[in-house]
């Protein structure tokens, strides 16, 4: 089902300002849309508005072309997995999963069939008759998923369902969830503050901050063309290096670190209007090339080395104390306190207007 959000805004009772506002969004059928953002930015609020659990203050919500603003949650053809799982504690796993079907007065045999089908898919057949308090956190998470699956709803909503699992299980469940999404053939909306989850699972990411959509698009777009400084800093690990500078005669002059960059031709064109103005330049850690060069070079002191095996992260310092992160293949040899020369890959440069923080190139 296609979901459209049209200038949606939410203001909670007793709050001065809108929590989120002017959200325009289109989520296509069978998309796996991840709503990403730092804690408290209004992700859950947005999801709950889509689910109908929170009222929509302004704007319109359409499911497959039908306006949904005042439709009851149960009539929206949605299923939801909650941040806290919200399993009914007095019911067994089986009853939990059967509950929504029972409320819809399905036949007993149909219910049984669907529950077993979901249980097998999620490998929870062994504790169908246990209470939620008698199973582990990971199992509860599966039950919560199962409860949502049995409904065969058109839209699958998930609010940080993996946030309480250990790292290994989370990694495993990420893959499971994507697989599940594909096998269910539904539209999924997934809320998280974890950019790794967003990058690995989404077909479409919506990055929220301060109640506004910062960027929408496929994961690669976020990595390769962040729309503004916030996105640049939020996506990617390690965080992108940002340098403040000025454009003089088409070149980027770093203000504090004292180096000059000659951008590639296409960037030069776009930077022309910014002649003499303040600009921020971003570069990801893997876009530093080891070795000296005549142009676009920097000289830094290695401060800390994080060895990850296939690559190593060098936390370096400029003479003025500013830090930057550089990643190099693991077999290169570096030692703490050594001075090294690097030059910058011109294809990996991101320029942002320092005033508006918007992307330039």
């Amino acid at each position: 089902m296609k979901i459209e959000l049209n200038n949606i805004g939410k203001k909670y009772e007793g709050r001065e300002n809108f929590t989120i506002r002017n959200i325009d969004l289109e989520i296509d059928d069978k998309d796996f849309c991840v709503i990403l953002g730092p804690s408290g930015c209004g992700k859950s609020t947005l999801l709950r508005m889509i689910a109908g659990l929170t009222s929509i203050t302004e704007g319109d919500l359409y499911f497959g072309g039908k306006r949904m603003n005042s439709v009851e949650p149960k009539d929206r053809d949605i299923a939801m997995v909650f941040q806290s799982y919200a399993l009914y504690p007095h019911m067994t796993v089986y009853e939990n999963m059967a509950f929504s079907l029972k409320m819809r007065k399905e036949r007993k045999s149909v219910i049984h069939e669907r529950v077993l089908e979901a249980a097998e898919l999620l490998k929870i057949t062994d504790y169908l008759y246990s209470k939620p308090s008698e199973i582990s956190g990971g199992q509860r998470q599966r039950v919560a998923l199962g409860r949502a699956i049995v409904r065969k709803a058109g839209v699958f909503l998930m609010d940080e369902p993996l946030s309480n699992l250990d790292a290994k299980l989370r990694e495993h469940m990420r893959v499971e969830l994507v697989r599940l999404h594909q096998s269910l053939d539904t539209t999924s909306i997934y809320v998280t503050h974890d950019q790794t989850e967003a990058m690995t699972m989404a077909t479409k990411i919506v990055l929220l901050d301060q109640g506004k959509v910062q960027q929408v698009g496929p994961p690669t777009l976020f990595y390769e063309k962040p729309a503004n400084l916030f996105v640049a800093g939020f996506i990617g690990s390690p965080t992108m290096n940002i340098f403040n500078g000025e454009i003089k005669e088409g070149n980027f002059h770093s203000l504090e670190e004292d180096f000059v960059i000659e951008p590639k031709e296409s960037d030069r064109e776009l930077l022309k209007p910014f002649e003499g103005k303040k600009v921020a330049m971003g570069i990801r850690s893997e876009r530093f090339i080891a070795g000296e060069a005549e142009k676009n070079a920097i000289n830094v002191k290695v401060d800390v080395i994080e060895m990850l095996g296939k690559e190593q992260l060098l936390y370096c310092q400029f003479p003025n104390g500013k830090e930057c992160v550089i990643s190099e293949p693991g077999y290169f040899e570096y030692a703490v306190d050594e001075d090294h020369n690097f030059h910058l890959d011109l294809d990996g440069l991101h320029f942002f207007d320092a005033e508006t923080t918007e992307r330039i190139n």
Binding site: R48, P89, S100, P132
Partner: protein, 296 residues
């Protein structure tokens, strides 16, 4: 074989006793035994006296003992005891049901809904609680005559039920609201998505979770009419309409009609319905159901 091996091992989780601690422990045990004795001894006297045929008007400690059921016989044949039992049970059951029904609604509403005057009314309920109920006696009379004028069949006993339930609803609303507050609202949300309306959310999700609390509320409201002497003694005039407390009291107020052992026998029987209800509710009283609802 295995047992023997473990004999030498110190298995308790607590540190071993030092002599000082042993002395203190002994003292606490002695205090506890005294406490138990103070409570159990009068109870034991009641039981003994009610079966002691050699006592007539007064309960005496010591003296001869002669097993007999004559006090019970007197209770059933010479007094309105059965009426009192029925009256009390009817009043108690009605009070409990009424309280449960209303408290369910008010507790749920105060916990889950934001409405105008929510805080103020909650405060008001709490403040009104501090006023003792006998202050309202004059008001009770007037109210009863007004209501009875409109609804002819409205008896004093029904009015008693309303007074008990009214008090119970107020105080128990607080307790239940607090209990429901501790249940994650995501459960409500989940139920709503699964297809429940407001009342179904309460009936199918919240109520089963708060059942231990409801059981306690039911028990308390049920016991209330058994214990209260004052209100029925003021409001009820016909001995046939008396509740157990007022009825039995007539057996020990007057020297000419003094039957202390009969009173004891009645008291003993009074405990029965409460004990039966307690046993019936025992399973419901087991709490801890709310655990496992959310992560952890």
């Amino acid at each position: 074989m295995r047992k023997k091996k473990e004999k030498g091992l110190y298995l308790s989780d607590r540190p071993p006793l030092t002599p000082l601690k042993a002395v203190l422990l002994t003292i606490s045990y002695i205090l506890l035994f005294i406490y138990v004795f103070v409570i159990l001894w009068p109870l034991a006297q009641i039981v003994f006296s009610s079966f002691n045929g050699s006592q007539d008007q007064y309960i005496r400690i010591g003296g001869t003992y002669e097993f007999s059921l004559k006090h019970f016989k007197y209770l059933f044949e010479e007094t309105y005891f059965l009426n009192w039992v029925v009256n009390t049970i009817v009043i108690a059951v009605a009070t409990a049901l009424l309280t449960l029904l209303f408290v369910s609604f008010t507790g749920y509403a105060y916990s889950r809904y934001r409405f105008k005057g929510r805080k103020a009314s909650l405060m008001a309920i709490m403040l009104i609680q501090t006023i003792p109920s006998f202050v309202g006696i004059v008001a009770y009379y007037t109210m009863h005559s007004i209501i009875a004028a409109v609804i002819p069949g409205f008896s004093r006993q029904m009015f008693l039920v309303l007074i008990y339930a009214g008090g119970g609803i107020a105080s128990n609303t607080f307790i239940l609201k607090g209990y429901i507050d501790s249940i994650s609202t995501e459960l409500d949300d989940a139920a709503r998505i699964d297809g429940c309306g407001n009342l179904q959310v309460y009936r199918l999700i919240i109520m089963p979770i708060v059942r231990p609390m409801l059981a306690i509320i039911a028990l308390w409201s049920f016991i209330g009419p058994f214990l209260d002497y004052m209100l029925p003694s003021i409001l009820l005039s016909d001995p046939k309409q008396y509740t157990l407390a007022t009825g039995l009291y007539t057996l020990i107020t007057d020297v000419r009609n003094m039957h202390q052992p009969v009173f004891a026998a009645g008291g003993l029987l009074t405990a029965l319905p409460i004990i039966i209800l307690f046993i019936a509710l025992q399973n419901q009283l087991v709490s801890g159901l709310a655990s496992g609802a959310v992560k952890g």
